[in-house]
Symmetry: C2
Subunit: 155 residues, 2 copies
Amino acid sequence: MEARAPKDLARDGCSVALALGVLGERWTILVLREAFYGVKRFDEMLEAVGCARNLLSARLATLVDNGILVRSPYRDEGQRERFEYRLTEKGRELFPVLLALMQWGDRWLVDASTNGPPVEILHRACGAKVAVELVCEGGHRHLGPRDTAPRRRRR
Amino acid sequence: MEARAPKDLARDGCSVALALGVLGERWTILVLREAFYGVKRFDEMLEAVGCARNLLSARLATLVDNGILVRSPYRDEGQRERFEYRLTEKGRELFPVLLALMQWGDRWLVDASTNGPPVEILHRACGAKVAVELVCEGGHRHLGPRDTAPRRRRR
DNA sequence: TAAGCTGAGTTTAGAAACGAGACTTAGCTG
DNA sequence: CAGCTAAGTCTCGTTTCTAAACTCAGCTTA
């Protein structure tokens, strides 16, 4: 008997499930974190992420296949041509996901004995701390889950 | 030689890695999605999520252990006492993570031939669609990743 | 009082994914 | 031409996942 296809989390077309089908494997989101921090090269990424080489190779390949990273050539002084990985627009739009995870981790998981979060994201233009927030198209801000209701749309 | 402990993604105290240590296993985030939709009971969750029974059992246990869900007794008319799972405050604060994933999936993964996302999250008070947004403490809104810079803090 | 039902799990065995380290490759350098 | 280096690939043992069968406790019905 055939096992459920891997990555087949998307039984019902839910966008969360679709997203996790692409991002849900182990290490994938940490690779993206490093990509946002500006890490581009294989061995540097390997060091930063800390996973096995073959897995990093596999994750980069699926991220490229899914248009989240691009693999593009570069050449260092007196070196042969190699490739580096950079975020695409599609990849950059994952920033709120990363920031939401970071924010939750900061709030609930970071050891309270330390003085604050290990990394902060700042607004370049003004230096203030950046956060994700729930807003509605009607202009209301600071919403919580209790203020919302899901609506399933007919297909 | 001992293998790297599972869930040990948190080599460096990064909050994203810490969060993924709790949420990063397969199915966990889909369980939370259903919890936000109001699903509370084991078999109902099983049907909605679509994973193996033993994994649902394991995921619910780790979510309870981590204070994201509470397991509390209920009793239906003429039934014995059973248990249901509900989000805690810590769990509810994951809503931005889910919404950010949904938003990205809607934008980049939902088949463009269909007319819009499968599920929308609406503001109860006004009926308008809810979204996550990057804002800074200086009051600037609609930020993108390009507008930000990370700063690592000394520990 | 026994037999059957039900929701909520646990167990088991085979398949798939992961992890560590060794090996490969292609071009550059001494 | 031997050695170096970044970026992989390969191998094999371990862990995790999957599906399905099994268990269990209390309730109902006979």
